[in-house]
Symmetry: C2
Subunit: 178 residues, 2 copies
């Protein structure tokens, strides 16, 4: 990816604060001199975890109210203030699944849905899983599942799929980890 000079931002306004994401716009001067409002929704960074134990991967089954569907997906969560991606991955994995990883590696960082979101995500690979302490937040309703490595991508791609799980599995495969 390349970086060029930023278009001049004449104003940046947050209009919608939900406690989960912020909505607003930047008033931007475009290359032809015209001004336009570009709307965004801003969310803190997230981490998606590809956690392997022997020949299986840890998945979670979780209801996603935004789309009104239950997905079988890779564990994921929001990075808290001051955390690195690997710290967030270790915490989220243990909270959601009860397994604490010994080894963690960031496979890729990327921006998500750049046409609308101001939101980064990292895919983190984890192994050396040891029993830890599961600690779901109030209002977290998550079932832990295991999926054989050889079946994981097919499971992720069938039916109603999600971007984070497919991308995480493909990146881990590309990097020779699955």
């Amino acid at each position: 990816m390349t970086d060029t000079d930023e278009w001049p931002v004449r104003d940046s306004v947050t209009e919608y604060e939900t406690g989960w994401y912020d909505g607003g716009y930047d008033l931007v001067e475009q290359p032809d001199g015209s001004e336009k409002r570009y709307y965004w929704a801003e969310l803190p960074p997230a981490v998606v975890i590809v956690a392997r134990t022997d020949d299986e991967l840890l998945f979670v089954e979780q209801y996603r109210p935004a789309i009104r569907e239950t997905h079988l997906e890779l564990p994921a969560g929001i990075v808290e203030d001051g955390e690195s991606y690997t710290e967030a991955a270790a915490r989220e994995l243990e909270e959601e699944t009860g397994f604490a990883p010994s080894n963690l590696a960031v496979l890729q960082e990327y921006w998500v849905a750049t046409g609308v979101l101001r939101h980064e995500r990292a895919v983190v690979y984890a192994d050396g899983l040891e029993p830890g302490e599961r600690a779901l937040d109030t209002n977290e309703f998550i079932e832990v599942r295991t999926v054989p490595v050889e079946d994981a991508l097919e499971v992720a791609r069938e039916g109603s799929a999600n971007d984070a799980t497919i991308n995480g599995l493909l990146l881990a495969t590309e990097d020779g980890l699955l």
Copy 2:
């Protein structure tokens, strides 16, 4: 992915209409009987196009005001009312790059950023490219580039990356098309 019974939606409220996306919440009854507002940002479906001509792929270099960066990325756009994913892919590819594809195939549909977005995306593969008519919208500032197939994933993963380009390339590779 699995589908289970939807959690009861007590109310669904659109609070923020931008003309680009809508923001709002569903008031949902959770499995323990408690009620909670789940906030979402809703955007029409999008299509990302992996367009191959001989040993090169078509990329576009585009400034992304939401994140204030220029990305070298796969062509993409919003699906218009009544369009299929392949129709939208053919239209967007020709508008953005001036090439009209003879063959199109949907590789994968998936939900994007399901923790916050109500937004679907398809990855479409295109080849048999013929000269067509480029037709950028007013305020579209896009440069067409070609990237050798063998370099594309590295280009997509280096620096400030985006999810759609990485996922599109990895899916086309997984499906034996790159």
